[in-house]
């Protein structure tokens, strides 16, 4: 088991290194860090001096080497857009995105497991069909359209129809000036809903199919035959085993969420990783973008690893092997 984890962790290192090099080269090829100087009408010699200072005159591999050295020491550079330390920028953005991710994953997990288990136990019931239909709908909704429609019908609409002074749910940022738990919740509902629709749809399908697999397996039938109460069979044996594949999928999905909420954060003005990406991209802020891409890739790799570990740990067949 430890051997397995170690092997996979070791394998992650070259992947992230090569990914970071490609990212670095890609961003370098796309953005000119001195473009801003040209706009501010600096002289040609000043621009040349800046290119030398940034090391842009050196071969790409050298540039990457010195960037990597600094990156590993925690010096991620200074944003060309805001002149702020990139570590501070990304730290702040991660804090906000993490709130969305944590709440989103919690909500999605509870709902998806609920739907999955119910659908599997009551296969072909009316509700099962309804859930399946909703799942397909959830997978087919363009996520930003869902967000906008939700604002229209759950925030702006009710406010106009019932002449409220506030919309019942907020859609700007994570909190208003006042604060408070209720205020926080009213800000969270819409973005969390928007980001969970697809996840719930995907996870509940997984949960349903793995629950069906487990419930039709030999040991469940044996347990039932031995007279173990249905409730206990479902919870103790069925659910527990059926959760194994879902946990793996969840870990993989969560890793992708840290860099994957660009749309949700844009719609709901959440100053997280997605918004940082858009701001940096539109400003051509190469230093921030490089670090951003490497950090989000690292999240994906780390959660992939976590998925492997969780899988090996939860599934006895792998542990034995």
């Amino acid at each position: 088991m430890l051997n397995l984890v170690g092997r996979r962790a070791l394998y992650s290192v070259p992947v992230i290194l090569i990914a970071s090099f490609l990212t670095f080269a890609f961003v370098r090829a796309t953005f000119d860090p001195t473009a801003k100087l040209r706009q501010s009408r600096e002289s040609a010699s000043a621009i040349r001096a800046e290119r030398v200072r940034l090391g842009l005159n050196k071969p790409l591999v050298d540039q990457y080497g010195s960037w990597l050295g600094r990156f590993l020491r925690g010096d991620w550079g200074t944003s060309e857009r805001t002149h702020e330390a990139v570590t501070a920028q990304i730290g702040r953005a991660l804090g906000n995105t993490t709130q969305l991710v944590v709440w989103g994953v919690l909500v999605a997990a509870v709902i998806a497991v609920g739907i999955g288990v119910y659908s599997a136990l009551r296969q072909y019931s009316l509700l099962d069909y309804t859930f399946t239909g909703l799942t397909f709908l959830g997978l087919a909704l363009p996520p930003f359209w869902f967000g906008l429609i939700a604002i229209e019908f759950l925030a702006v609409g009710p406010k106009q129809w019932f002449h409220l002074s506030d919309p019942p749910l907020f859609f700007i940022g994570l909190h208003s000036g006042g604060g408070g738990i209720l205020d926080y919740a009213r800000h969270l509902v819409l973005p969390v809903m928007t980001l969970t629709v697809q996840i719930v749809a995907g996870w509940s399908r997984y949960q349903r199919s793995s629950m069906l697999d487990v419930m039709s397996s030999g040991y469940i039938r044996t347990a039932r035959a031995k007279g173990v109460p249905r409730r206990q069979v479902v919870l103790r044996h069925g659910l527990r085993n059926a959760l194994v594949p879902l946990v793996t999928v969840m870990a993989l999905d969560i890793g992708a969420l840290f860099g994957g909420l660009i749309i949700t954060e844009k719609i709901f003005s959440v100053p997280g990783m997605g918004k940082l990406f858009i701001d940096s991209l539109l400003a051509g802020d190469a230093t921030t973008l490089t670090a951003w891409l490497v950090v989000t890739a690292a999240f994906i790799v780390a959660f992939n690893l976590l998925a492997d570990v969780a899988y090996g740990w939860l599934d006895p067949r792998v542990r034995v092997a």
Binding site: R38, R41, T82, E84, D166, G177, S269
Partner: protein, 553 residues
């Protein structure tokens, strides 16, 4: 200074309240109860400034000026309305008007300082601060724009109460120095330190009515009164600028009472919301701005290297229809007819381009005389078709509407138009400097009351490989008769001859049709009826020029 400043999706800063239109909303509904009492005003800000070091290249956002700079940085001149004109007037920092002398051909300006003027820590604002400011801008690295400061030879601070500024070459726009969107920096706090590092994330000192209490990045900026301010004390106890980067969200927040005032860019979404009527609100629309949205032409590429073709294009376009479409609901109807924005009316011929209006017969005449033939609905010359591309800022609804109307209008006149929009950064950082475009739709912005078209039309400012692509003459205008006139506008300290030169330049620009002005990008201000003290718009400082007089009832 003629700059390309950033404001929301487009560009902009400025205006005056001449064309103010009050749009009352329907019957008042409930009180906006979310806003705390005690004179705490919340204002929506459409764009978050990237940094608060106003002279660095990371600044240059008009919202940086609105939210922090103008409330905290002392300046030599205020910009105020006098009659129908905007003029410079000495600020409270001055003990009297600055004195200009040009004896012996050397330009010297003496600034008498108000002895009561102090920084928030009680230290007086002195001539050393002038010296420090000049030194930073003229000799610092990574500076947004050095115009003017690079002409200063020295700043004499031997008398702390009089700054004596000596120029190397004469500079007619000297009133924009030590003020505008830069301000004066406290040398006693910054000398010997890394200025950029000390200021970029916000700073607690102030030489204005407010000081920055906190800048919560991505969320808001909070201003509180500066107790040491020697001028009239602010009435509000707290001003919060809340960043709402989405126009629709901004209007929803205003209607919901989450914000008490907003200064939205004139995007179709904003125009639509205002037309629909706002509840319990006052609003103001001002077309007398420092902006000029235009159709800029690359004078160096086929077929726009021909004056006749540029003129024919101008005659193909119904600018009235475009302005009516974009701003008709706001009461703005006529197009702009000068490449100088409305606030520079004293220095410009605001009717220079009035002769260009939709006239297809004229198009036919000009094109035929230039050797073109109409084949299959499109003009052709020597086997080349009049196929044009236009660039602008992507995802900008207003500009995309304009482009599509232009497309239809030009098609009717025999020109095919293809749109190749890119994000603003790519457009202004690469495409325009490289000259790899034909037509461009964007705005020029004046941030002061001095004409300065040399930066965008003098042949010496054409971006080339030799100057590191750093000039701003994106149209690649090169007219021998124009250069001396525009240079005179920059250097002539005699106002009468300066005005003459500027107007003559305007007429040459129109005759050569180097670019076609379209509209002045009206400024829109909206505020809750509960906020009193809002007194119209300002070409440099927006609706926030008298923020200290605002209060919430």
């Amino acid at each position: 200074m003629h700059r390309w400043l950033r404001r929301a999706a487009g560009l902009g800063l400025s205006g005056c309240a001449l064309a103010a239109v009050l749009i009352p909303g329907p019957a008042a509904s409930g009180l906006a109860r979310r806003v705390a009492s005690g004179g705490e005003i919340v204002v929506g800000a459409e764009q978050e400034p990237d940094c608060a070091d106003w002279i660095a290249s990371c600044a240059g956002s008009s919202w940086g000026v609105f939210t922090m700079q103008e409330q905290t940085m002392p300046r030599v001149f205020d910009v105020v309305a006098r009659g129908r004109q905007w003029v410079y007037t000495p600020s409270l920092l001055m003990a009297g008007p600055p004195v200009l002398s040009t004896d012996g051909g050397t330009q010297v300006v003496r600034y008498p300082l108000n002895p009561r003027a102090v920084w928030s820590d009680g230290a007086p604002i002195t001539s050393t601060d002038f010296r420090y400011t000049w030194d930073q801008i003229a000799h610092g690295t990574d500076i947004f724009d050095r115009t003017g400061y690079d002409r200063i030879a020295s700043v004499d601070d031997s008398d702390p109460h009089t700054a004596v500024v000596t120029f190397r070459t004469s500079f007619a726009g000297w009133r924009q120095l030590f003020g505008g969107v830069y301000g004066i920096y406290p040398s006693h706090l910054l000398q010997g330190r890394d200025r950029d590092n000390a200021m970029k994330d916000g700073y607690s000192w102030s030489g204005g009515p407010f000081k920055v209490q906190a800048w919560d990045k991505g969320v808001d900026v909070v201003l509180v009164p500066n107790p040491a301010y020697w001028g009239p004390k602010p009435k509000a106890s707290k001003i919060t600028f809340k960043f709402l980067t989405d126009t629709a969200a901004e209007f929803q927040a205003f209607q919901g009472g989450e914000i008490n005032a907003a200064y939205p860019a004139p995007e179709p979404d904003a125009v639509r919301s205002i037309k629909a009527g706002l509840t319990d609100a006052s609003s103001l629309v001002n077309a007398d701005t420092g902006n000029i949205e235009g159709l800029w032409m690359n004078n160096a590429v086929f077929p726009l290297d021909s004056v006749a073709v540029r003129q024919a294009i101008a005659y193909s376009i119904d600018r009235n229809a475009i302005v009516r479409l974009l701003f008709g609901p706001l009461g703005v109807s006529g197009p702009s007819n000068s490449l100088n924005p409305p606030i520079l009316a004293p220095y410009s011929d605001q009717h220079a381009f009035a002769g260009y209006h939709l006239d297809l017969a004229k198009v036919r005449q000009l094109m035929t005389r230039d050797g073109w033939q109409r084949v299959g609905g499109l003009w052709q010359k020597n086997g080349r078709t009049a196929q044009l591309t236009i660039v602008s800022t992507a995802a900008d609804k207003r500009r995309e509407l304009t482009e599509q109307v232009l497309q239809a209008q030009l098609r009717r006149a025999g020109f095919a138009l293809t749109v190749q929009n890119r994000d603003a950064n790519t457009l202004f950082g690469q495409i325009l400097p490289a000259g790899s475009y034909q037509l461009g739709l964007y705005a020029g912005v004046a941030t002061d009351l001095d004409p300065g078209l040399c930066t965008v039309f003098c042949s010496s400012n054409i971006p080339t490989a030799a100057n590191g692509h750093s000039g701003s003459n994106y149209t690649r205008t090169s007219i021998p008769a124009l250069d001396p006139l525009l240079q005179q506008v920059d250097t002539d300290n005699n106002d009468a001859t300066r005005v003459q030169a500027s107007k003559a330049a305007d007429r040459i620009l129109a005759a050569q049709q180097v670019a076609l002005p379209i509209d002045p990008l009206p400024n829109i201000a909206i505020w809750s009826k509960r906020v009193s003290g809002v007194r119209g718009d300002n070409p440099v400082y927006g609706m926030f020029w008298n923020l200290s007089q605002w209060q919430l009832q």
